[in-house]
């Protein structure tokens, strides 16, 4: 009864083939992506610390601790402020730069290439570079300020509470404005020329043209750029680590730095797992809300 013909064989082989192709990738992602995530949730309900290795179910004790941990909420606040300040600055500066390079300019490729460099180098190197730049005595920044001030200046960029955040912010904006710039430049060059000319003929103001034609055209791309950068800013670690390690005290501690501190300095493993879960929860809410808004605006 069971007959095999070549066509059925082929179909069968195809079904097998497509899973064969995707299986290794899914296996690796499950192993290094999903397994740690499940493990994380498990550990957050156990009690593993430097002194304790209690693997039984402990309920929500670590999640309850989250609410009373001032240092945690401060670090979250730092992260949110950092993101909320750096993101618009990068967007606006990137946009202005893109406008500058949108029109004809000689040696455009060379300029753009050089401006791009910060974005592709390691954030550790970016942090190290700005740490050297901001050095109170041997760095060039205080020197330049001294020229303008007319006398010797000793601003302690790595220590002074009022100056640490601006210093980190400069490094961050320096490294990632080119990212915004490049994406917005590409998006702006794709805006329909004819529409712009038609608007000009109709006598529309610059602002009108921007709002009615340019902005809707670049919106989808701009949105994705903001999402990518926003997520990166929220988990910022490297640049802060090189410049201040979260100090002085806990002044510049971001959520990633605090989570690192609890896991690998205090060995408060279960609690750090609860923090990690909280971070993932916050990010999921942000991403889902953002994607939903993107769908609405379409």
């Amino acid at each position: 009864m069971i007959t095999s013909n070549s066509f059925a064989d082929k179909l069968d082989q195809e079904r097998w083939f497509k899973y064969f192709l995707i299986a290794p990738a899914v296996f690796i992602i499950l192993l290094i992506g999903l397994y740690p995530f499940v493990k994380l949730i498990l550990v957050s309900f156990q009690n593993i610390t430097m002194f304790d290795n209690e693997l039984s179910y402990q309920g929500f004790i670590h999640y309850e601790r989250l609410f009373d941990d001032d240092r945690l909420w401060e670090s979250i606040l730092h992260t949110i402020i950092f993101t909320a300040v750096a993101l618009p600055i990068e967007l606006i500066l990137g946009f202005l730069l893109a406008l500058l390079f949108l029109e004809r300019i000689p040696y455009k490729q060379v300029f753009v290439g050089i401006i791009l460099l910060p974005t592709v180098i390691s954030p550790i190197v970016a942090g190290a570079t700005w740490k050297l730049m901001f050095d109170q005595r041997f760095g060039p920044i205080n020197q330049v300020i001294a020229w303008f001030a007319g006398h010797e200046v000793k601003l302690l960029w790595n220590i002074e509470p009022a100056l640490v955040w601006p210093a980190i912010m400069v490094a961050e904006v320096w490294q990632w404005t080119p990212f915004m710039f490049l994406i917005l430049l590409a998006a702006l060059s794709n805006v329909d020329r004819e529409q712009l000319e038609a608007a000009q003929i109709d006598g529309a103001s610059w602002w009108m043209t921007f709002r009615k034609i340019v902005l809707p055209a670049i919106m989808p791309v701009m949105f994705i750029a903001l999402l990518i950068r926003g997520l990166d800013l929220f988990r910022v670690f490297d640049v802060v680590w090189t410049m201040t390690k979260g100090g002085p005290g806990t002044m510049t501690e971001t959520i990633s730095i605090y989570a690192y501190h609890m896991a690998f300095r205090e060995f408060d493993v279960s609690y750090s797992a609860a923090i990690a879960f909280l971070i993932i929860l916050i990010l999921t809410v942000i991403v889902v809300a953002a994607l939903r808004r993107m769908e609405v605006s379409r």
Partner: protein, 275 residues
């Protein structure tokens, strides 16, 4: 009059462009300058803006003491993990595009894996690697970077493969090639520039990684970003080494922006902008 006006505006733009470019390049210049300075020049006050001559001593010290080895470690882990991620990622992307494996959901799930911050998964991964005894080995970092970059590769290659016309594959199948042969002999060559651009970014992500390397290496496979942060001490910092090793880490990136600019926009925008 109008002609003159346009000329003036062009020069104004060029002038602005130069100022901006200077702002972005100066810190890297400063880093490079430090790497060529003598100890006296580094710690001179007021600072020396241009080192007196190209003094390769700082680089020489790195190689003599074997600390430049960290660059080699970065290179080995980044390039081998790139090969693995590209291979497994591309065939997976092909399966997603041509067979619609798992519908839309599988693709979305894969890219969502990229959103999880490294700090959240690094501890469980650490425990896993302790159990497998691959902490502080090339294997450990290569496995991790492969896994970490896979979603990116799949996502990007999905976009590139979608652009390949289906007719070519169909006629190749009619000619009697197997599915596997079609993938290798028709699809891969067609996707060459996409493969190349994606591989460059995969390499960059692994090359620049800090957090994973910080936790999963001890002494044998320390990569250059970890080594650089080690030079900053509480009391004093080894600036000459920071400068020289950082520059070694930046050099490949100068090459990348110098030669592959047209690939970059699509790569960093995760495919949102087709360059």
């Amino acid at each position: 009059m109008k002609q003159w006006d346009q000329g003036a505006r062009l020069w104004a733009r060029v002038f602005c462009a130069m100022i901006v470019t200077l702002f972005f390049v100066f810190p890297i210049y400063w880093l490079g300058a430090i790497s060529f300075k003598t100890a006296e020049e580094i710690f001179a006050y007021p600072p020396v803006w241009i080192p007196a001559n190209f003094n390769f001593h700082n680089y020489f010290v790195l190689f003599r003491d074997g600390e430049a080895w960290s660059i080699w470690n970065s290179f080995v882990t980044a390039s081998i993990s790139t090969l693995f991620a590209m291979f497994f990622g591309t065939i997976a992307a092909y399966s997603l595009v041509r067979y619609k494996t798992g519908g839309n959901h599988l693709g979305i799930w894969i890219i969502s894996q990229r959103m999880i911050p490294p700090i959240c998964v690094v501890f469980p991964v650490f425990l896993l690697f302790v159990a497998w005894d691959i902490v502080d080995t090339y294997t450990g970092l290569i496995v991790l970077y492969t896994a970490f970059n896979l979603p990116y590769v799949i996502w990007m290659m999905r976009g590139y493969i979608q652009e390949i016309p289906l007719e070519l594959e169909q006629s190749a199948l009619v000619d009697g090639l197997t599915r596997w042969a079609v993938l290798w002999k028709v699809v891969m060559p067609m996707a060459k520039s996409g493969l190349f651009a994606t591989a460059v970014f995969t390499f960059i992500f692994a090359w620049n990684d800090f957090l994973f390397a910080l936790i999963l290496s001890r002494s044998d496979v320390v990569t250059f970003p970890v080594k650089v942060t080690g030079y900053f001490g509480a009391q004093s910092s080894l600036w000459s080494k920071v400068g020289a090793l950082s520059m070694l880490g930046v050099l490949p990136m100068i090459f990348v922006v110098g030669t592959m600019q047209r690939f970059i926009v699509r790569g960093i925008s995760m495919g949102a902008v087709k360059g």
